[in-house]
């Protein structure tokens, strides 16, 4: 499944860039994030809890920054699995920052995510709906967070 | 994990069993009582191969906890015939070729029986709706519908 979108903020691009890569920002913005730590320069360790009705999953996964071109472009890949073995999660995300006229920065993202395992049995629709919701909450939170920094 | 007492009647025979609460009705029928006529084919409650009658109503035995059948009367495909004497529906299924691989047949027969018990003179449309929950991958259903219709029209009244 593909999630993509963009939004714009009035802020210096470097500041946005730094905030974005900060584990604290991520932990604050990713819904259900229980732990996000930087393992090394390129790797994050994450634990994210998600709930759909009676189903709760905890995804333990690594995110690796495969391509970093400050302050404009990041590509990252992540994968991991639910602690209860309900599914395995793989994602590839690209984020682009672009300075527009008038000091505005446009942030666009494209995330290809895939879940396999028992969870996938539960229904493509619900996973997609949930992902969409998580995406919305994340971008809203990020938007807020970034606004608060600038 | 503690086991619980399950008392129920299956095809007229009374049983008392100690089972784990997570056991499904289909599992107890097949594994504990050896009534393997009842099949299981989807794991999502979608195919109805496991249909049995519970106090006269058709249910999917894969979607009923065995303990919930405590005190109930169950009828499985093995209970349809009386010794060597097949039920009207069974005879009609034979005559109409209403089965092929036979794997869905037990569930199909029980569903059809439930339909006729409730509505002895169903229309063709009602028959279609009555067996709608049961998947058959072989026959294309129409021979099954003809078989049920024949029974409804009284063609199998005489004892077989």
């Amino acid at each position: 499944m593909i999630l993509e979108g963009k939004f714009a903020l009035k802020a210096p691009i470097q500041l946005l860039w730094d905030t974005l890569l900060d584990p604290e920002t991520l932990q604050a913005c990713i819904p259900g994030a229980e732990k996000i730590a930087r393992f090394d320069e390129k790797t994050y360790d994450c634990l994210v809890k998600q709930k759909v009705g009676p189903i709760t999953v905890r995804f333990k996964f690594k995110v690796i920054l495969v391509k970093v071109q400050p302050p404009e472009h990041i590509e990252m890949e992540g994968e991991g699995e639910d602690i209860g073995k309900a599914g395995r999660f793989v994602q590839r995300t690209t984020i682009d920052l672009k300075e527009n006229k008038g000091g505005e920065v446009e942030l666009s993202y494209n995330c290809k995510a895939n879940i396999v395992g028992k969870l996938a049995m539960f229904g493509d629709r619900i996973l997609k709906a949930k992902a969409k919701k998580v995406e919305k909450e994340f971008t809203e939170a990020l938007h807020e967070k970034l606004k608060s920094v600038v | 994990m503690a086991k619980y007492l399950l008392c129920f009647t299956v095809n007229g025979e009374y049983h008392e069993l100690y089972i784990k609460p997570k056991r499904l009705l289909v599992e107890v029928l097949r594994d504990d009582l050896g009534l393997t006529g009842t099949k299981r084919a989807c794991n999502t409650g979608a195919c109805a191969a496991c249909t049995v009658l519970l106090n006269g109503a058709s249910v999917k035995s894969c979607s009923v906890l065995a303990l919930q059948a405590d005190g109930a009367e169950i009828l499985t495909v093995e209970g349809l015939a009386d010794g060597a004497r097949l039920s009207p529906l069974q005879r009609s299924f034979l005559d109409h070729g209403a089965y092929q691989c036979g794997f869905c047949t037990p569930g199909m027969l029980v569903s059809a029986q439930a339909l006729l018990d409730e509505n002895p003179k169903p229309t063709r449309e009602e028959i279609r709706e009555g067996i709608q929950g049961n998947i058959c991958r072989c026959t294309g259903y129409n021979s099954i519908i003809r078989a049920v219709e024949a029974v409804a029209k009284g063609k199998y009244k005489e004892k077989g």
């Binding site: 309900a86 997609k128 | 794991n43 058709s58 979607s63």
Partner: protein, 292 residues
């Protein structure tokens, strides 16, 4: 694989609520279990305690009075509703809805309370009961409370039920005069869950010319059964004509927030909402205006 659990069953509602209070942190209620057991089999839900209420006869009833309307006990099966002469006479739309809800086997064992408490936005009863202005009654050890069904659904598979609460009754208040309700779902395989569904309740004014009230509820078109309030507003107080119907249907389709899946795209679902809204509003209106 279903993980082991402790099976709990009490003889009365009161005792059941006591048990629920004690093990609320890690328990699930099972009634018909038609949805729950599938999740448990996948290993997606593994409660420590499973509380069985299937046999609680005190919750198995259909009552009607002209003052209070309809009351349905939570463990009433779909099939009981479908075959009830009372329901057939007074709420034919419910019989229609039930006849097309899943397979006979599921309807024989599954219950109305279980269906609603599962909180599946593709469920059939949700939209119809909301159109009928239904209220749910819940109880915990301490108290009972009621809330509109519309507020009961919170998110995908999430309801307003607290961990220590049980859904015990569904009520349909007295239906205003000259009111009719229609419901239909769109699917390819009959009795399958709807790709989308729409319930519409129309009330005609005394003269039978103008729409006095309208309630339109969309199923499988959002994380919860969703009222198309803007569309309803367009109809209230108006004389119905083709153009207005089209506009209202268009509005309802804009209010829908469907998600694409293997069965249909977002656009197609929105289109279906439009088509079904028009059809259901028309159908219920035609009935409503003729009522006395």
């Amino acid at each position: 694989m279903i993980r082991d659990f402790v099976y709990l069953r009490a003889d009365t509602l009161k005792e059941t609520l006591d048990i629920l209070e004690q093990c609320k942190d890690d328990s699930k209620i099972i009634c018909g279990g038609q949805s729950l057991l599938i999740l448990m089999r996948q290993g997606l839900v593994s409660p420590r305690y499973l509380i069985d209420i299937k046999h609680l006869e005190e919750l198995d009833y259909i009552k009607f009075s002209s003052q209070e309307g309809l009351k349905i006990g939570a463990i009433t099966t779909h099939r009981t509703l479908e075959k009830s002469a009372l329901i057939k006479k007074r709420y034919p739309v419910l019989v229609d809805m039930e006849k097309n809800l899943a397979s006979v086997q599921t309807r024989n064992w599954g219950t109305i309370g279980g269906n609603l408490a599962h909180g599946d936005p593709t469920g059939d009863p949700g939209p119809v009961f909301i159109a009928l202005n239904a209220i749910v009654k819940t109880a915990n050890k301490e108290r009972e409370r009621t809330l509109p069904l519309e507020e009961f659904f919170i998110d995908f598979f999430e309801t307003a039920l607290e961990e220590n609460e049980l859904l015990i009754e569904i009520q349909i208040p007295v239906v205003p005069p000259k009111t009719a309700v229609a419901y239909e779902k769109f699917n390819i395989i009959k009795n399958d869950q709807g790709i989308v569904s729409v319930a519409a309740s129309m009330t005609a004014d005394d003269s039978g010319i103008k729409c006095k009230d309208a309630r339109i509820v969309l199923g499988a078109a959002a994380p919860v059964p969703k009222r198309a309030k803007a569309a309803e507003q367009m109809l209230r107080g108006q004389k119905l004509n083709e153009r207005l119907l089209d506009q209202a249907a268009e509005k309802a389709s804009k209010e829908a927030e469907p998600v694409a899946d293997v069965h249909a795209s977002e656009d197609y679902r929105k289109f279906l909402v439009k088509a079904l809204t028009k059809k259901m509003v028309m159908r219920s209106w035609e009935q409503a205006k003729r009522l006395t």
